[in-house]
Symmetry: C2
Subunit: 124 residues, 2 copies
Amino acid sequence: MSETDSSIEADVFARNCSSREALQNATSRWGILALAALAEGDYRFNALRRRVDGVSERMLSQTLHTLERDGLVVRTVLQSIPPKVEYSLTPLGRQVAEQLTGLIDLMQSNLPAVLAARAEHDAR
Amino acid sequence: MSETDSSIEADVFARNCSSREALQNATSRWGILALAALAEGDYRFNALRRRVDGVSERMLSQTLHTLERDGLVVRTVLQSIPPKVEYSLTPLGRQVAEQLTGLIDLMQSNLPAVLAARAEHDAR
């Protein structure tokens, strides 16, 4: 579904459907980890950066901006001195993050099987 | 968790944990769509390439190889003339694909909300 034909059903398998882009924003390298972290609770930028180990300031900033634009994340500027910026999930962001958390749990708990499959594959 | 310290719990938030790599292989641009397509049934290479609209032969081939190495996809050579190659999900691949399908359904059904959020954001 593109912005101009909202009567057609969304289909991530179609290369020009905006749902594919939205899916890929939420499952980008850093998007998936930022959403899963925010499922634990709200974060300020630097704390989120520490939680998502390895992300650069620039990439986290870009990732959060994309997720905010897609309506998954809210950026709140708190009226304090100095001002503090906090990130949280929208209701849709929370639903997406719950799916991602399920996937992450599955991957973490099945890591021994994945590593065994890799070892077997590489020994062929 | 790396290959050498299997006693430590897997954690996708740790930059060197192999579970992060496994997660990112399954949620790569084409990995997510290939797994979701294979959740519909087994596919031969060219049919899968048609289903995953927009993927190049080379990228689909690389993606399937990575998913096969991680133990999510099985490649079967059928004894026929000419030989046919079919791709299917392993039991773990099926569990991963079910999570991804849930995420895809969520994104497709909420696309109007995502597009509205984008329009509002861009009008600011």
